[in-house]
């Protein structure tokens, strides 16, 4: 137990910070309750899913700059196909979009492994490619979403009104995908290639294959994130939101070291909610939303700078 607390000090600290922030929210606006929590969860959902995808790639020692563009592709694909589709069809469409996400991520990973071009350059180029694909599918926001999908993330859980469905959705999806992986050999391999690729190779880890899987998982979560955009707004968004920087910042703030090998998914998810809550509090304090965006951006950049300093220090012991 003590070891667990020691290993997770950072995550616990984040949880405490989030609790304090929520308490502050309650003080700023005494009326803050279930509906406030619900809108917070809905706003945070795409960010959280993007962050989970990014965290997996960063843990495996990479980075995926195309994450927001992949989300846009998933969002518009889902929205265009679901426009007017029946419930049964839309279920198939959701599965298809998730497979599409896996495929996009796998393409990114395979290009990195096969072309030997560094991840940051490949995913920058693919950022433009996926943006283009999203624009070809839908060049202005539009399309639709199945009502049952929209209902999955709106409102509170039946019987527990205070618990937003958005959070339940996030927890269920992330746990269903990540926990089996984390417990399996694959999970160890993901951490291993991020921590020390040479030692991983010498321990018999198929490094290239594991890297492709990491990017594919990132693509899968990007697809979930893209769908959650459509679920939240009811339409497809071909222009990606500021998910790239936000996810990198949340990953760093969540205790995942840029460079790989360390950290988990809970920390980054908490970090997303912290960043979103700060933004919500600023809005509640009737700060201009654009000023709030500046504050948020500054926090994110400061976090990334801090993370880079830590990573540089770590490299030379």
């Amino acid at each position: 137990m003590r070891r667990w607390i020691e290993a997770n000090t950072w995550t616990l600290g984040l949880a405490v910070l989030l609790a304090v922030l929520l308490l502050a929210t309650k003080l700023i606006q005494p009326g803050f309750g279930a509906s406030g929590l619900d809108s917070l969860a809905r706003a945070a959902l795409p960010f959280a899913l993007a962050t989970v995808g990014m965290a997996i790639v960063v843990i495996a020692g990479g980075i995926d700059l195309s994450i927001a563009a992949m989300m846009a592709v998933a969002s518009v694909t889902g929205a265009v196909l679901m426009d007017g589709a029946s419930d049964g069809q839309s279920l198939l469409i959701v599965v298809g979009v998730l497979l599409l996400g896996l495929l996009m991520g796998a393409v990114n990973g395979a290009l990195i492994v096969l072309s030997r071009v560094p991840d940051i350059v490949v995913t920058l180029a693919m950022l433009f490619v996926w943006q283009g694909v999203a624009l070809l599918i839908l060049n202005a926001p539009g399309g639709g979403a199945a009502p049952w999908l929209r209902a999955m993330v709106a409102g509170g859980l039946l019987g527990m009104d205070w618990l937003p469905r958005g959070i339940v959705f996030l927890a269920v999806v992330t746990a269903a995908i990540w926990l089996p992986i984390r417990r399996s050999r694959l999970g160890l391999r993901l951490y291993a290639i991020g921590s020390d690729p040479l030692a991983a190779f010498r321990s018999g880890v198929p490094v290239g294959q594991t890297r492709i899987i990491a990017y594919a998982l990132c693509g899968l979560f990007a697809a979930l994130g893209g769908l959650s955009v459509t679920m939240g707004t009811g339409i497809g968004e071909p222009i990606p939101g500021p998910y790239l920087l936000a996810s990198v910042a949340a990953v760093v703030l969540g205790g995942v070291v840029l460079g790989g090998g360390r950290g988990g998914l809970l920390g980054p998810i908490l970090a997303v909610f912290i960043l979103r809550t700060v933004r919500m509090d600023l809005t509640l304090l009737s700060v201009d939303p654009n000023v709030a965006a500046i504050v948020e951006g500054t926090i994110m950049v400061a976090v990334v700078m801090f993370g880079a300093v830590v990573a540089t220090r770590g490299r030379k012991p």
Binding site: Y191, A192, S195, F201, G261
Partner: protein, 496 residues
């Protein structure tokens, strides 16, 4: 050469490997029978590490074959080597720093029970399997790495400089366990620079020189001298040239005075003086701390203890620019660390002239051209392919790294193995250049992995073993056998 055991578990014959212009291995062979510990020995650059990479499947040989239990090995990666019963334990522990000990075992499909057995056998019974690798000291990591290998129950265990960072009590346990492996009928390839260990546990020693297997001897009392001879080659007597007598040392404070320098884990305590007009050789086996010494003097690493004095005043360098300002300029061992491969000869030579902020403006092209031309002339660099340094021969590349400091003006030159892998003509040019620089009043620190060079270029040589200076030898006494014995810690001044 004694007959190789016909029932060899591992049998490598006629292995050759070429990297570009460098023939790293010409004809290497190694036979290891069941129940044997065979030492694989060779001086720096003899081709040991290439040979190990070929045995473990990291590299493919150009010629020759490796047979394991009589079948041609198809090993293509470390995981594959393991299937063949060959398990290597490398110098750098191959454990994942951010995973626990238990997770590292799971990653490699290694059972916990035998691992625990071996860990306690090796002297760490209290090792916590949930501890992160990152949190363990280097010595424990080597034990964990070895225990993991033993738990796989390999037919052939390959141990590369395993004891280098271990405290004495652990070394004894490790040696006992390794010997017990052989006594139980398994085979061990044991790579080490330490004769005492080899004498304690090995049955035979295979000696490599210049990419050739030059000997395969039984270990018996007094064999050290023969092994040293084999590593040097039969031509020792012929290669000896007139050693120069040490010059009278100037009365002024030494140009560079190093006292009790400690950096990282390898360089523990080094002191020496270097005077103007002197070429001071540094002799050491691989990994005895010489890399850290040169890096620290060049301002590329921070010392953890000790002082560096230049012309009598203590200096600390936080950036190579500080060392350069104090006149200490480094030619690193790996040319790839010094050269702008994609840029021209001229640009490579001219960078130190532009490094300071005040030189960021317009370049005085005429002045620069003159300085560069003078440096090229001094070193006789072949400039036919000067558009990109990567297209030059190794020798010419090496000259470019030195020419940079000639153009800047030499005060104290730190040369780290400047003649490795280059042709004999260029080597001679470098020796005479070094002598000329010293005659003009420069001070030169000259690390060399080729012992014969001490007589050819140096006035004195300090010998470093285990991070300490173990001997200082005048050039006239510095024949290769003496240096080799000293480098292996065999001179008696320190326990080997």
């Amino acid at each position: 050469m004694p007959d190789a055991p016909s029932d060899a578990v591992l049998d490598a014959t006629g292995v050759a490997k070429r990297f570009g212009a460098v023939q790293a291995l010409k004809n290497a062979s190694l036979q290891v029978g069941a129940g044997q510990v065979v030492a694989l020995m060779g001086a720096n650059g003899a081709g040991k590490s290439t040979f190990v990479k070929i045995l473990t499947g990291v590299l493919k040989p150009d010629a020759g074959h490796v047979r394991i239990r009589g079948r041609d090995s198809t090993v293509s990666n470390p995981a594959g080597a393991r299937k063949w019963g060959l398990v290597p334990v490398y110098q750098e522990p191959s454990l994942i720093p951010d995973l626990s000990v238990a997770d590292n075992l799971r990653l490699g499909d290694t059972a916990m029970a035998p691992f625990r057995h071996w860990v306690s056998e090796l002297g760490l019974p209290d090792l916590d399997p949930d501890a992160l690798i990152r949190s363990l000291p280097l010595a424990s990591l080597r034990i964990v790495d070895l225990a993991r290998a033993l738990a796989i129950e390999p037919d052939v265990l390959l141990l590369d400089e395993l004891t280098a960072a271990l405290p004495t009590d652990l070394v004894e346990r490790v040696l006992r366990v390794v010997r017990a492996q052989a006594d139980a009928g398994r085979s061990v390839i044991y790579i080490s620079h330490r004769f005492t260990e080899i004498a304690a546990i090995c049955d035979r020693a295979t000696v490599l020189r210049d990419g050739l297997t030059v000997g395969d001897v039984k270990i018996e009392p007094g064999i050290e001298e023969r092994i040293v001879e084999m590593m040097l080659g039969g031509s020792v007597a012929a290669a000896v040239t007139e050693g120069r007598t040490a010059r009278p040392l100037a009365a002024a404070p030494p140009r560079l005075s190093v006292k009790g320098l400690k950096t990282g884990t390898r360089l523990t305590d080094v002191s020496f003086d270097l005077h103007r007009g002197e070429v001071l050789g540094v002799v050491a086996l691989e990994g005895q701390g010489q890399d850290e010494l040169f890096d620290t003097l060049a301002g590329n690493r921070k010392a953890s203890a000790g002082t560096v004095e230049v012309d009598g005043s203590p200096r600390t360098f936080s950036h190579p620019a500080d060392a350069i300002a104090a006149g200490l300029t480094l030619v690193p061992g790996d040319r790839a660390h010094a050269l702008l491969m994609s840029r021209s000869v001229r640009e490579n030579i001219a960078i130190p002239l532009l490094a300071r902020f005040r030189n960021w403006g317009a370049i005085r092209m005429g002045e620069e051209a003159a300085k560069v031309a003078h440096a090229i002339e001094t070193l006789q660099i072949d400039t036919r392919a000067q558009g990109e340094v990567r297209r030059l021969s190794g020798g010419n590349q090496q000259k470019v790294t030195i020419a940079r400091w000639i153009a800047k003006g030499v005060q104290t030159l730190l040369l780290f193995d400047p003649t490795r892998g280059i042709d004999i003509r260029t080597k001679r040019q470098i020796y005479s250049l070094v002598r000329d620089l010293a005659d003009q009043g420069a001070a030169v620190l000259f690390y060399t992995s080729e012992l014969a060079e001490v007589r050819l270029a140096c006035d004195r040589a300090v010998v470093i073993f285990n991070g300490r200076v173990v001997d200082v030898i005048d050039a006239k006494d510095a024949d290769e056998a003496t240096l080799m014995r000293a480098a292996y810690g065999l001179t008696g001044k320190v326990p080997a």
